[in-house]
């Protein structure tokens, strides 16, 4: 490409498709975030523990999921 080539954009992702419905996941993470904030605010050990466990559950739910287009997040 030469120095004067203008940059023209194409969408490399192809047609719009969703791997899963992530809205439940977004709500779940928001709730865990609030829990961890309360833990930091009040220094509650049980809240730290619960928040970390729920975060680990999220990681497993996100990675270990089926690749069907109709698969919803967290429905194994």
């Amino acid at each position: 490409m030469s120095e004067l080539d203008p940059v023209t954009e194409v969408d490399p992702l192809g047609p719009e498709q969703h791997w899963a419905n992530l809205m439940p996941m977004i709500a779940y993470l928001a709730a865990v975030g609030v829990l961890l904030s309360i833990a930091a605010w009040q220094d509650w050990g049980w809240a730290f523990t619960l928040g970390l466990v729920l975060t680990a559950v999220w990681v497993v739910g996100f990675i270990v999921s089926k690749d069907r287009l109709d698969a919803r997040w967290f429905r194994w």
Binding site: M1, S2, E3, L4, D5, P6, V7, T8, E9, V10, D11, P12, L13, G14, E16, Q17, H18, W19, A20, L22, M23, I26, L29, V32, G33, L36, S37, A39, A40, W41, D43, G45, F48, G51, L52, T55, A56, W58, V59, F62, I63, D67
Partner: protein, 478 residues
Amino acid sequence: MSDQASTGGEGHAELVRAIRWQDAFWIASGVPALLIFSVGYIAVLTGPVSVLIWVVSVFVGLAMAFVYAEMAGMFPEKSGGPPVFGAQAWRRYFKPIAPLNIWGYWFAWTPVIAIGALLMGGYIQREWFPGQTWSLDWAPTSDFGLHINFAYVVGAAIILALLWLNHFGIKESAIVQLVLGVCSLVPLGLLIIVPIFQGKIDLGNFTPFEVPGASGWGTFELVAAGLFVAAWSAYAFETSVVYTAEFRNPQRDTTRAIFSSGGLCIFFYTLGPFVLLGVVGVEKIQEDPATALVPLADSVFGTSGQFLIGLLLVALLLSINTAILGSSRTLYQASKDGWTLRFLQRTTPRGVPLRAMSFDIAFNLVLMLLGNPIYILAASTIGYMVFNSLNLMAGYLLRKDAPDAARPYRAPVIMIRLGVVLAAGNFVLLFVGAPSWGWKYVGLGWLIVVAGVAIYYYRSWSDRRREAHAPLVVARAK
């Protein structure tokens, strides 16, 4: 979104392909100097453990680079860096996440300009103009106020001069960065290497290897606070892929740029804090964490004075310019893709996003009025951790949604999965690490990051309004 976004008005809206990966490497060479901003504060907060915090942080940054490099290669026409690529994944699921990701990233980078300029102004005033102690203050509360002083005026002059320098073009900016990089990184490197050969590392400074004055969950919180602020510096070499749309050969240059910058950062971020603590010790750093390198330079070179100030000024200048170049391109591409204010997408005939750059400078001139660099840094790290959490998920989503899309660089599957684990780690740091720096600054950080979503809705409304009025304008013209 990009194909729907209005370009709005006449003029230029394109960057030019004028640089190679070496140029991006030098543009990003301001990242090692970001160590100066917080190394002292983290050492005071976590003691000898801070050395381990920096090592963990920079290697996490390197692991994340695999995901970001793959994403950057998928969008060779896009400038603006990892959040712009991540936005392409999130827009298919929940659009407000995309501007949250982009604005968080921008707010992480842009305060480097304000903090660096204030520090430069402060050093110059202390060293060469000690009599200039005047100050115009407006302070409604004891811990919040607006201040204009000599340091502010000098800092403002410096960033305005850099704005002028950068209007010439990306190639010229890369040359400026190369000169600044060599002038600052060589002495900074010597400051790290020489004491090792001089045998000045005292291993006794690392014992007991624990976080001072903390136990149980308190230790967890302080280590998280250290990792939280260290991430702002140690992950930052991802900025080298901000220039993907300006690479002559984006497929080749993108990965080379990010991994070469990562290699440079591993050297500075693993050895730098170790040597600082080994030579100086926590007690000495505690006296003034903002200038933690002064006693180190005293020990290594005998005279700190003019040499050290010169070194710091060039290093700060380098960091400021890295931030100006990077964050302006993020704004430019975000505007072009319809995520933020429309006027930011215009470029000059030389392909410079001058409006975005000017907006950046104006925002920082206001931010500089607040003062107190470490708290501005903590607030901006909220944005950075929001971005890193969301963007690593986006890397995984792109694999799921577009498995067959062209990828000039394809990261190993294990690194993409590790990216999700690191997203969770950053997520925890965001909520557990941030509060140790003050709830007020946590609130300020979230307020500015969420403002990005409000701006996105304004832009969407504005675009719809333009589209509705477009036929009317054409008819009148006829």
